[in-house]
């Protein structure tokens, strides 16, 4: 046979190929191969012992191996269910904002270095010509080649080369991998249900977590548990499950089944048949269902509980047990679900009667328009409306009988379409359309997807931290809004306002966009939570034609809900925000979030029930959405603080030593003499100054609890307040402008060691030890939480400095033989050290004290409070939080779903403070008329 397939491309979720069998097997000449027949590289086989196949796309590095495999069974191509592990795609290298800043600063320092070199080099040459020529003992030759002019600048270049700390890259990498390990080791981020620890795949971007400004989140499986439960249904206009909240226990429905109502039976048949679920018998005899889609699994499960049990699926023969009798269906064709079509259908043949029928299920807007002319779809529309207001996911089920010859005719077209190599997906969709019409709508199913634990709290906290949330979901608008309400995403009236952008045509979208934008601009001054809702269609138009307006809207709005969006639109939105220079974090769990996750500055994957696709593509994988809070507030913030300190400190210490060298050159005739010997210089960078700061990786400026309680302080990280050119100037100016450390250390050492004691090696060691002492105190001053490690590193390092130098001083062949012993026995040495530390640190301590007491930042106040051990005073007094009232309103949004379905219980039990705010006397307020609330919401949405 021959396999025809297009050249390798980036899309690993598609494979459009054909298998053409050669003459001996003419019976089935062309057999389409799709991604279903494809195994990607490094996948695990499940449910089967073996698979035979042929390798296609054997790329150079083995990166894009797709293995096409098939199993011939009953002469038909049959695809076994394999778990597809998504390979990671081509990850774009991600550079954190901090890294970018460091690069910029490095550039700035480099320029500074060049300037210093040029200035000093020129001055050196001038001095040489005017002064040094007269110094007979230097013996400058009278005649010299022109390149001698370059000698002094080059000398200075050598001296200044330490200005850019090369060690910074190494220590940052080291430290970053430590941050990642901290995340991996965090006990509090292990999912208790599945024991999945959090994992940092990308070790380089932990700091960015603290700088996130926008979080784009998926809904299903991310905010919700993605554990689908069939709750309600509406069959032929009759609602089941409204009273009990569980259709499976609805007496009316059970009665209808026993009495054999044809509509109900049909409905259950569609539930059981129209899917891609694979039933598997476990050893105990129970039937397990393996499904790619959680919804399908829920439906099949529900059908099984309603006595319509999907027993076996053997290639194309499907067995269903209903009330003791076995029904067999032959699946003729499966019209697959795609995000464009939003429905799937199967063409089945009843093995008993031979009738061919088409069974469909899909989103309401994908099914109801194709209902046959005579049918009233109003009840279904209402049902869908009602269910989605409850936050339930709805699917419409429909069927139709197909004549034998109509099927035959269509089947040929379908086959042709499936074997095309170009635009296969589109062609198939077109062909499917031809069969999916005149449907008899049977009913609507409603599946519940519970919110994960702690989601509202997490969103609340992170929003207080100044992070904007966008929800991007493939679900219906109403469902999305309900979920958004129940997880504090948006506030209900009158606190919040929901604006929606809709319209089917460009003009409509444009008008509604402008209207929303106008409202947005007006309300920005008011303390109102304004969110906008946009659906996939309008979004497409908005992104295409009104990008500018939409971007402005995106900036103005703190919250957005995008419904019915495709994976590529998710990625587009991420890109839109990124283009406005916002730091974005995308969180999702499914394969449809992979693109968004890869595009975002930080991708977080939830290793949930939809497999590991997202988690593998992501930079961080966590078990539950609520860990995001800890990931950002604790890990992100600490990482950022530590990196900010480490990098600036690295620059600072290099500049310190370099300035001393430069100052020394002024008194050494601008000839470029190095005050320090090479061993000391190297040890200074590698040892003395890098070890103490490495332990800053365990420094915590505030305890984790405080950070979680006061997420507002993340604000300090977001806009890069700890590492930006101005704070850097502070560190940069320390050795330079304050005249402190470098000048102090230098001036003091050369003055104390003047005249008869002015010996080069000695002065150099005095200046060096002065620097080391200063470093120790600077680090000690900047350290917020002392642990044994810190003490060990800071003071141990100081001791190590002396030990190392004593060892060098004991080696006769080293340049500094006996120097350190001599110095340590001189009282003036120790006095000098004291002087340097006092003069260098005094002003810094004073300034720090002043700032701490009179210009305290929020962090300082919290630190103080922490130290006092007393109750931490609310930050509300410092910066009045406009969202303070929100807390009182928030429970309302929770009550609504609660009053209808008790499954929302965990939400309330997790938020004791919101409960408290109501006081003990009014617990029944929770149950206040939900219908009124929902009517407010729906009106709210419609009004806009």
């Amino acid at each position: 046979g021959v396999i025809e397939c297009p050249g390798p491309d980036k899309d690993i979720r598609r494979f459009d190929g054909n298998l053409r069998l050669l003459p001996p097997f003419i019976d089935n000449d062309v057999c389409p191969l799709t991604i279903k027949n494809t195994i990607l590289q490094s996948c695990y086989l499940r449910n089967t012992e073996w698979a035979c196949g042929v390798a296609v796309y054997t790329g150079k590095k083995g990166k894009w191996i797709k293995l096409v495999w098939w199993a011939h069974y009953l002469g038909k191509c049959y695809s076994n269910e394999t778990k597809l592990g998504m390979t990671r795609g081509i990850p774009e290298p991600k550079l954190t904002a901090v890294d970018a800043m460091i690069d910029k600063l490095t550039g700035a320092i480099f320029v500074f270095q060049i300037v210093v070199v040029i200035v000093l080099g020129t001055a050196g040459n001038v001095w040489k010509d005017t002064e040094a020529r007269k110094q007979w003992y230097v013996l400058y030759p009278q005649e010299f080649p022109w390149y001698e002019l370059l000698v002094i600048p080059l000398r200075f270049e050598l001296l200044c080369s330490i200005m850019i700390p090369i060690s910074i890259k190494v220590s940052l990498d080291l430290v970053k991998s430590l941050y990642a390990k901290f995340i991996d080791w965090d006990y509090e981020m292990i999912d208790p249900e599945t024991d999945t620890p959090s994992h940092a795949t990308n070790t380089a971007i932990s700091e960015d977590l603290a700088q996130v400004e926008y979080i784009l989140t998926d809904k299903t499986g991310t905010l919700t548990e993605n554990r689908m439960i069939f709750r309600r249904c509406c069959i032929g206009g009759i609602f089941y499950g409204n009273e009990t909240g569980d259709a499976l226990k609805d007496v009316g429905l059970l009665n209808a089944i026993t009495s054999g109502s044809p509509d109900v039976i049909r409905f259950l048949t569609v539930m059981a048949v129209c899917n891609t679920v694979i039933p598997a018998k476990s050893k105990a005899g129970a039937i397990l269902y393996k499904a790619q889609s959680q919804d399908e699994e829920a439906l099949v499960h529900a059908a099984a509980q309603l006595h319509m049990v999907l027993v076996n699926k053997n290639a194309s023969i499907l067995e269903i047990k209903f009330n003791g009798s076995v029904l067999q269906y032959e699946i003729l064709e499966t019209l697959e679900f795609t995000s464009d079509r939003k429905r799937m259908s199967v063409v089945v043949k009843d093995c008993h009667s031979g009738n061919i029928s088409l069974l469909s299920k899909g989103a309401d807007e994908a099914i109801l328009p194709y209902a046959h002319a005579g049918q009233q779809t109003r009840t279904f529309v209402e049902a869908v409306e009602q269910y989605s207001q409850l936050g339930l996911r709805t699917l419409c089920l429909a069927w139709r009988e197909v004549e034998e010859d109509e099927y035959q005719e269509w089947s040929l077209m379908f086959k042709e379409a499936s074997s095309t190599l170009i635009d296969r997906e589109w062609r198939i969709a077109e062909v499917c359309q031809r069969l999916e019409h005149d449907l008899k709508v049977l009913g609507v199913t409603a599946i519940e997807d519970r919110l994960q634990d702690g989601v509202p709290e997490t969103i609340e906290t992170l929003r207080k931290a100044g992070i904007n949330f966008w929800m991007l979901t493939g679900d219906k608008q109403n469902t999305a809004i309900q979920i958004a309400l129940s997880c504090n995403f948006i506030s209900p009236e009158p606190k919040g306002q929901l604006l929606s952008i809709d319209g089917k045509t460009e003009d409509e979208v444009c008008r509604s966009l402008e209207r929303v934008l106008l409202t947005m601009r007006i309300t920005t001054s008011e303390p109102k939570d304004v969110a906008f809702v946009v659906d996939g269609w309008a979004l497409e138009i908005a992104l295409k034609h009104y990008r500018k307006a939409f971007t402005e809207l995106a900036i103005l709005s703190r919250t957005a809900i995008c419904c019915r969006v495709t994976p590529s639109q998710k990625a587009q939105l991420v890109e839109l925000l990124k283009s406005c220079d916002y730091r974005t974090l995308a969180i999702g769990d499914g394969g449809n979030d992979v693109r968004m996750i890869q595009k975002a500055d930080i991708g977080v994957g939830i290793s949930g029930r939809e497999g590991l696709q997202a988690a593998r593509a992501a930079d961080y994988s966590i078990g539950k959405f609520r860990f995001l809070k800890r990931l950002i507030l604790v890990h992100g913030r600490y990482s950022y603080n530590r990196t900010a300190f480490l990098s600036q400190y690295s620059f600072y210490k290099s500049l310190l030593i370099c300035f001393i060298q430069i100052f020394f050159s002024f008194i050494s005739g601008l000839s470029g003499t190095s005050l320090f010997n090479s061993v000391s210089l190297m040890a200074y960078n590698v040892f003395y100054t890098s070890i103490p700061v490495l332990v800053s990786t365990i420094d915590k400026d505030l305890s984790e609890g405080t950070v979680m309680q006061h997420p507002q302080i993340l604000f300090y990280c977001q806009a890069g307040r700890l590492l930006n050119p101005s704070t850097f100037a502070g560190w940069f100016g320390r050795p330079l402008f304050h005249g402190r450390e470098a000048i102090v250390a230098f001036v003091i050492s050369i003055h104390v060691y003047a005249y008869e004691k002015s010996e080069m090696e000695e002065v150099s060691m005095v200046a060096l030890s002065g620097c080391i002492w200063l470093q120790a105190f600077v680090v000690a001053l900047e350290t917020n939480s002392f642990t044994v490690f810190q003490h060990l590193a800071i003071w141990g390092n100081l001791v190590a400095f002396y030990i190392i130098n004593w060892i060098f001083s004991a080696i006769p062949s080293s340049g500094m033989y006996t120097i350190m012993f001599r110095l340590c026995s001189q009282p003036s040495y120790w006095i000098t050290m004291f002087l340097i530390v006092a003069a260098g640190m005094g002003p810094i301590v004073a300034l720090k004290y002043f700032r701490y007491t009179y210009r305290a930042s929020k962090i300082n106040i919290l630190q103080q409070a922490e130290r006092m051990g007393g109750p931490i005073l609310s930050l509300g007094t410092i910066e009045p939080q406009p969202r303070a009232i929100e807390k009182d309103v928030a429970p309302l949004s929770i009550t609504q779903p609660r009053s209808r379905s008790p499954v929302y219980e965990p939400l309330l039990s997790d938020s004791p403070n919101t409960r408290r705010s109501f006081g003990s006397g009014t617990p029944f307020d929770f149950f206040q008329s939900p219908s009124r609330l929902s009517s407010i919401y729906s009106r709210n949405c419609k009004d806009n």
């Binding site: 007269k134 110094q135 003992y137 005739g669 005050l675 003047a754 002015s758 002087l835």
Partner: protein
């Protein structure tokens, strides 16, 4: 600590040559002797250290500071190690100079003779260098060779005395970090009484006139903290003052605006 500083570079040039000091110092025939007198302000207990102080002399110049061969100084067998010594490594005949390099070549060569009340003061020139230098850095088997041949810089060395005994050289070769520095010349092991008049006969040989350097003779006693240095005291007082000021400011601030 009692300290007597006498700058003599200008005074020791005969008046005829004041306009052309360089010529005077370079002329081998001129009489370079010169007599200076000064009185002891306070009693000076022995040991009294004699230093010569040079100003505007860049012993820390890059070209200068590295122009030495520690290997060669250390051992006889390393006589040919003159690579670092450029441009004063070998004679015109390509013979290695021992000790080589600019530092050794420019050895200070003024000499002082002291007398009080017509009686010569004995100047002890032993143990003025670091013990570690004498024992290790400068070999007992290394003798000066080809030194100050041709282009003469500073002092010549007695080629029969090993380098480890040439303490003037050892002191000189501990290069100074600053352009103003003092080097130990010797020690007077007698006490000097107040108002004693010391007469010094100086052989003014060393050329500092080329680059407008100065030469001074320093007699000083020493305390536990070393020689006279006002800097330490001044800085301590300054820093103490600043700290006091800050403390008071903060106290005031605390009182006014807690």
């Amino acid at each position: 600590v009692v300290e007597i500083v006498d700058q003599y570079d200008n005074e020791c040039i005969p008046k005829d040559f004041r306009d052309n000091k360089v010529e005077f110092i370079k002329n081998k025939l001129t009489n370079k002797s010169c007599t200076r007198t000064f009185t002891v302000p306070k009693q000076m207990k022995s040991p009294i250290f004699i230093y010569y102080q040079l100003e505007n002399f860049y012993q820390n110049h890059r070209r200068y500071v590295k122009s030495r061969s520690d290997k060669q100084l250390q051992s006889k067998k390393n006589a040919a190690h003159i690579r670092e010594c450029k441009p004063m490594g070998e004679t015109d005949n390509k013979d290695p100079i021992i000790p080589c390099g600019l530092i050794a070549w420019s050895l200070f060569n003024d000499t002082y003779g002291f007398s009080v009340k017509g009686k010569d003061l004995k100047v002890n020139k032993r143990d003025i260098a670091w013990g570690s230098d004498k024992n290790y850095k400068f070999g007992a088997d290394v003798f000066p060779k080809n030194f100050q041949v041709g282009d003469v810089g500073g002092k010549s060395l007695n080629s029969s005395i090993p380098l480890s005994e040439q303490e003037d050289l050892i002191v000189w070769m501990r290069t100074a970090a600053l352009s103003t520095f003092r080097k130990l010349y010797g020690k007077i092991e007698d006490d000097l009484q107040a108002n004693d008049v010391i007469t010094v006969v100086i052989e003014n040989n060393y050329n500092t006139y080329d680059f407008k350097g100065t030469k001074s003779l320093v007699l000083s006693t020493t305390s536990w903290i070393g020689g006279k240095n006002d800097f330490l005291g001044v800085t301590f007082i300054t820093i103490g003052g600043i700290c006091l000021f800050l403390a008071i400011t903060f106290i005031l601030l605390y009182v006014i605006k807690p």
